[in-house]
């Protein structure tokens, strides 16, 4: 029977929310790894029972967990993330060079084809890969050769938080780093180059059009059209029609173009979602109204989706990894908030209900469509 499994990472544990295809009644399991920060959980597209989870703590560091049975049971796997060779240095706040120091895994992106192959995006920014189901991790050091000495942490840390795999060109992948920018590899992660032409960061960078340094918050792609990328930058919602070679702004009539996540409808590559946040220092919705904005035209023209979402006194945030869509016939859309709510829509965002309202602050939301 078809259904969905929503994987929720929070500040104090992980939760798995399950439903049949109607998505009306939900089973809530958890907390798994209670008390730990769960930055990301992600299922393998090649084997939905294989799930990876990034478990981290200021006290005890990084743990990676793996489930082979859809999240019923878990086992810790390898947690050694050693930078390749001499770690090198990057820009520090005071203008000096600072050594790369591993802090945590922000993103686990399983291969589209092999359950044992996973990419990990980490802080301080780098990308690692396992081909043995997480037992061992090796850095793909070419990324940090892409002007890594100029990268500088933003207020949230220098984190590699987005990994997008091209389903049509198996060796092409994209990553996004705060606050270094967007990068593309065409050789399976061996070499990388910035793909930031058209990004403008007027108030964040001395050279607003610099090749690196842009605070890219999230990138999304529709698998049927992988040359089209959508980006939520610190400010500005952007679009590329040439696999990142150039970008143009599509913020259009949004009330504010600051935000964190961006997502694409499962069946319509021109339908895009963002959750505008008031500003870079006021990380909550404008006017206390939680509104998802949807464009059906690939940007510029946006409509507010509000049915079922709080429209007064709401001051939560939606973090960059806390937005996902399922691929059931009527596309489901999901997001989690720093207030602990996970909202779901089973009709592309027209109507929303809260699956849960009182979890710890939500860091990430992923959804698996089960058939």
């Amino acid at each position: 029977m078809s259904g969905v499994r929503v994987l929720v990472g929070t500040r104090k544990g992980a939760f798995i929310l399950s439903s049949d295809a109607k998505r009306k009644k939900w089973d809530v399991a958890g907390p798994h790894f209670a008390g730990w920060e769960m930055y990301h959980l992600s299922g393998s597209p090649a084997d939905p029972d294989r799930i990876y989870a990034s478990q981290t703590s200021s006290w005890f560091g990084q743990v990676v967990q793996r489930s082979n049975d859809g999240g019923e049971t878990w086992e810790p796997v390898g947690n050694k993330f050693a930078y390749d060779g001499t770690p090198g240095t990057h820009q520090w706040y005071d203008g000096t060079q600072h050594p790369w120091e591993f802090k945590r895994v922000w993103r686990l992106e399983p291969s589209l084809h092999d359950p044992d192959t996973v990419y990990a995006g980490v802080e301080d920014a780098a990308i690692f890969k396992t081909t043995d189901g997480g037992k061992s991790w090796s850095e793909l050091p070419g990324l940090r050769s892409a002007k890594g000495e100029l990268w500088q942490p933003g207020a949230g840390g220098m984190c590699l938080h987005t990994i997008v795999l091209d389903p049509k060109r198996k060796d092409r992948m994209f990553v996004a780093i705060s606050a270094a920018g967007a990068f593309r590899s065409d050789d399976g992660g061996q070499s990388w180059r910035p793909v930031t032409k058209g990004l403008v960061s007027k108030y964040e960078l001395p050279d607003p059009k610099a090749e690196v340094g842009h605070c890219v918050h999230c990138i999304a792609m529709h698998p049927s059209r992988p040359d089209v990328l959508y980006m939520q930058k610190h400010w500005d919602v952007m679009r590329s029609d040439d696999a990142g070679e150039s970008w143009r702004e599509i913020s259009g009539d949004l009330p504010t173009d600051f935000g964190f996540p961006i997502g694409v409808h499962a069946h319509d590559p021109d339908t895009v979602y963002v959750v505008p946040i008031k500003s870079d220092s006021e990380h909550y919705p404008s006017e206390g109204k939680l509104r998802v904005y949807r464009s059906r035209k690939g940007g510029n023209e946006w409509e507010a989706l509000t049915d079922g979402l709080p429209q007064s006194d709401c001051y939560v945030n939606v973090l960059r990894s806390a937005f996902a869509v399922d691929s059931l016939e009527s596309c489901g859309v999901y997001f989690g908030t720093t207030g602990g709510q996970v909202y779901a829509s089973s009709d592309s965002g027209d109507h929303w209900t809260a699956i849960v309202r009182d979890l710890p602050a939500v860091l990430s939301v992923e959804v698996q469509t089960l058939r």
Binding site: W59, F60, G61
Partner: protein, 98 residues
């Protein structure tokens, strides 16, 4: 036989109840005890001391016999009462809010 008390999150991770009892060859030190602990419970590698540098993680402390041993060199011989199992070596997570 050396007794080690782990914080609750590491007991959960290692799937142990209560104290961990270890045999350590030669004079026992924090380093040799942690080596033995990680050999038996590999999932604890990187959680008490850094994978690469082997330095104690900043918010982890080592207590024994009413003393804080955290700042002693890791190869310092542990008190006799720890070495003969009368007192445990406590691995402690630092106090913090949240």
């Amino acid at each position: 036989m050396i007794r080690v008390v782990l914080p609750v999150h590491l007991r959960t991770l290692a799937r142990v109840d209560g104290e961990v009892k270890l045999e350590v060859a030669g004079p026992a030190s924090v380093r040799s005890v942690l080596d033995a602990l990680e050999a038996r419970h590999p999932m604890l590698r990187g959680t008490i001391r850094d994978h690469i540098t082997q330095e104690r993680r900043a918010f982890v402390r080592f207590f024994a016999c009413g003393e804080d041993l955290s700042l002693d060199p890791a190869e310092t011989t542990l008190p006799e009462a720890v070495a003969d199992g009368r007192e445990p070596l406590m691995v402690v997570g630092a106090m913090a809010g949240g």
